[in-house]
């Protein structure tokens, strides 16, 4: 399950994961929501793969992995994780409009609250890593790199999937971002 804020590149990430699933010979369903929520709202994309996938939707308590592009969104959707699931988290904070307007408060200790509920959390500053690669928009691919390392799927498959989805002119910087994510040293 990929959660984040509209404009962060969740859709592209879900398409890469879908392609990985297909290359692994799985049945795959990727469920996106287009339209209004894309304008800076909270967005969630479901990626399911396996023998036979029926429902395209992931429901509460079902996700093996939550790939979170923003920490408040990770906490918002945490109930969708299975008890033994894990979270790969970009430590970025993006204030929602009610916080910007001073009507609500961005909660303190978001990562602590996440860790209380899920022992298996990997936190990375993927945005900073992406910046160092030369394009902050590759943050999504840094996170994919981080995810790739912790799966049994061959690295080569991930690289092929990236080539399936990302346009030629942006490939180089994204492959670099993937490598950085793949080799990211977690604290």
């Amino acid at each position: 399950m990929i959660v984040g804020v509209g404009g962060q590149g969740t859709l592209l990430a879900s398409r890469v994961l879908g392609s990985v699933g297909m290359r692994e010979g799985c049945d795959v369903k990727v469920s996106e929501i287009h339209g209004m929520s894309q304008r800076g709202g909270s967005v969630v994309t479901y990626v399911k793969m396996g023998g036979k996938v029926h429902s395209p939707v992931i429901e509460e308590g079902e996700a093996h992995i939550v790939l979170a592009f923003e920490k408040l969104e990770a906490l918002r959707w945490i109930r969708y994780l299975r008890p033994d699931g894990r979270i790969i988290l970009n430590s970025q904070r993006i204030d929602p409009l009610p916080v910007i307007l001073g009507e609500s408060r961005y909660p303190d200790g978001v990562i602590r609250e996440i860790k209380k509920r899920c022992p298996n959390v990997q936190v990375a500053d993927a945005l900073e890593t992406a910046r160092k690669c030369g394009n902050p928009k590759t943050m999504n691919v840094v996170l994919i790199g981080l995810l790739a390392r912790s799966t049994r799927i061959k690295k080569e498959t991930w690289l092929k999937a990236l080539r399936d989805v990302i346009p030629e002119r942006l490939l180089e910087v994204n492959l670099k971002a993937f490598e950085e994510g793949y080799n990211y040293s977690l604290v």
Binding site: V5, G6, R15, G18, S19, M22, D27, V28, K29, V30, S31, E32, I33, H34, G35, M36, S37, Q38, R39, G40, G41, S42, V53, H54, S55, P56, V57, E59, E60, G61, L72, E73, L75, R76, I78, R79, L81, P83, D95, P96, L97, P98, V99, I100, L101, G102, E103, S104, R105, Y106, P107, E113, R117, C118, P136
Partner: protein, 584 residues
């Protein structure tokens, strides 16, 4: 070859493989990608039509002329196209005619969650309902076949979860479809009373044949499993049910109108407890009950919103799932917002300042209803703003009218704002209509429209001149303004609302997400000038925040549009000297 396709892309592929040569649509979530995908096929003439009624008429013309044609829209678009739809059921077709309609249960991006299956029954047009992308492709091909076999348009209904889910599709070859001969036949194609009476009779004969077909068609299939539970279902609800209930027995309907009555009766006889599991209205359930069959349906499942596997599991099997603790405090919501640099922000800022009553319309700018602007009073359907402003004047008189406007986007205005503007002029109205001309159909993902000067395939074409159009229908007071000129905009708004006679104000500035839009350097705050009055917070720009001890501009978000510079009385916002443009 297999590909991972959106349901919408698979619908397009189905039309392509069927040899379709004409595709029409008005964009609307969750249907838009069907026609975007169709436009990528060189062999298919595709267009963004001005609205869904026109789209269906163009497709009908193509069908009568002998081509296979597909017309796509969202559920509420079918309301707009309902006029030609009902009579097309009488005329039938020549080349196959398929109408793809995408419902939005749960209203992810819509103003209602109406169930378009009722249109199939009301107009007496067969309707197919796929449950994944492979079926989207296969069912569209079957729909073209049925359309020609039975001489009828065929509806294919999607819902958001089918339209916007990617799943695997086996691609096939394009059929070498030759145009059917066009033969003048006024008895079939000219619907006036004498001919229509005959055609209505034909329609009923045709329906009897299609009912027989439904009982034999492979579109409807029984999957036998444990017979203690039998489920009649279709579309994405079938997928939810399979996930929740596993190996029970299913009657999966691929054709939801007309229903296969014999098949249903046979299935019902062989299972102990029969459920109908369907999203939204009890469309199938009511018909099954009418057959005298005992069935469980909407007493267990809601008519509001989407179904889910969990809901089905809970209600049918009584299973509850243990979930982890919810987050301790109420988390701040993250609603969608107008983008940094959005031209609409300026208009709503001024409308809020003037405390006008604002009749809104459908588009990104409907976000003007949300905080901090909250500068919208009504939003009903495409084009409603203009007529509603006029109605408000007729109800409450001149004083009220002088503080009331209609706000409508360029594409929405062309879709259905022109006729109410003529109504307003003709019936001696005095309302002010603001056309937010951002030179694109933005909300649905940047489609061209008749005011942008480009076709769906990106070819240059004649652009509608909105000023001349307004003048031509009799509006004497037409004003053009850049909404980022806040003072000028406010002045014009005051003048036009005060003036007698109808006014049109065209607030023209392109969508900030368009590639050609470049604003120059980003903005920063000069702390020595900032009085911390927070007037800028009213803009609701995601890039401007109140840090508690001052105002800050977020570098990652600022595009350098400079609206805050225009607004601040103390000159506290300044462009960063010599820096590169802000990135959108």
């Amino acid at each position: 070859m297999k590909m991972l396709l959106l349901g919408n892309e698979a619908v397009a592929r189905g039309a392509y493989e069927s040899g379709a040569t004409v595709a029409t649509a008005y964009p609307g979530t969750p249907s838009t990608e069907i026609t975007e995908a169709l436009a990528r096929y060189e062999e298919i003439y595709s267009e963004w039509s001005t609205n869904e009624k026109v789209a269906l008429e163009v497709a009908a013309g193509a069908s009568f002329a002998g081509a296979r044609a597909i017309c796509s829209m969202k559920h509420v678009g079918l309301n707009v196209a309902a006029d030609p739809l009902f009579t097309l059921a009488y005329t039938g077709v020549n080349g196959g005619l398929v109408i793809a309609v995408a419902d939005d249960p749960g209203m992810h991006s819509s103003q209602n969650e109406q169930d378009s299956r009722f249109y199939a029954r009301a107009a007496r047009i067969p309707m197919l309902e796929p449950s994944d992308s492979q079926e989207c492709k296969d069912f569209v091909k079957e729909a073209f076949y049925l359309s020609e076999k039975f001489d009828t348009p065929v509806l294919v209904r999607l819902t958001t979860r089918v339209a916007h889910s990617r799943s695997m599709v086996e691609l096939g070859e394009r059929e070498d479809y030759r145009l059917k001969e066009y033969v003048k036949d006024e008895g079939k194609y000219v619907m006036m009373p004498a001919m229509a009476r005959k055609r209505h009779g034909e329609l009923e004969k045709r329906m009897a044949k299609i009912r027989e077909f439904a009982d034999e068609s492979l579109l409807n299939r029984i999957e036998w499993g444990d017979r203690s539970i039998g489920v009649i279902t279709s579309g994405v609800a079938y997928q939810y049910a399979r996930e929740a209930l596993g190996d029970v027995s299913y009657l999966k309907l691929g054709m939801v109108y007309p229903l296969p009555r014999k098949l249903i009766a046979r299935f019902a006889k062989e299972v102990e407890t029969l459920y109908v599991i369907e999203e939204l209205e009890p469309f199938i359930e009511d018909q099954v009950r009418k057959m005298g069959i005992k069935v469980i349906g909407k007493e267990l499942f809601p008519v509001v919103g989407e179904l889910s596997a969990r809901l089905i599991s809970e209600r049918v099997l009584g299973k509850k799932k243990e979930l982890m603790d919810p987050p301790l405090e109420q988390l701040p919501v993250r609603p969608p917002v107008m983008c940094p640099g959005c031209p609409h922000r300026a208009v709503f800022y001024v409308l809020k300042k003037l405390r006008f009553t604002v009749n809104g319309d459908i588009g990104c700018y409907t976000l003007g209803a949300l905080p901090p602007a909250r500068a919208m009073d009504t939003c009903l359907c495409m084009g409603a703003s203009v007529g509603m402003a006029h109605g408000m004047e007729k109800a409450r008189g001149a004083d009220f009218r002088k503080k009331t406007v209609a706000v409508i986007g360029d594409s929405t205005f062309i879709h259905s704002g022109i006729t109410p503007l003529i109504d307003l002029v003709y019936n001696k109205g005095n309302s002010t209509v603001i056309i937010l001309d951002n030179s694109i159909t933005a909300m649905t993902g940047h489609q061209h429209n008749p005011s942008t000067g480009y076709t769906i395939k990106g070819e240059p074409t004649i652009a509608v001149d909105l000023v001349k159009l307004a003048e031509a229908v009799g509006v004497k007071r037409v004003r053009l303004v850049d909404p980022f000129e806040l003072k000028e905009l406010e002045k014009i708004l005051k003048e036009e609302t005060q003036a007698d006679g109808p006014s049109v104000i065209i607030a023209k500035r392109p969508c900030a997400l368009l590639k050609q839009v470049k604003f120059g350097p980003q903005v920063t705050v000069d702390r020595s000038k900032c009085k911390y009055c927070k007037a800028c917070m009213v803009l609701g720009c995601p890039a401007i925040s109140d840090t508690g001890d001052g105002i800050k501009v977020d570098e990652a978000l600022c595009v350098g549009c400079g609206l805050c510079i225009e607004l601040c009385r103390f000159g506290a916002f300044v462009k960063k000297a010599g820096e590169k443009s802000g990135g959108a």
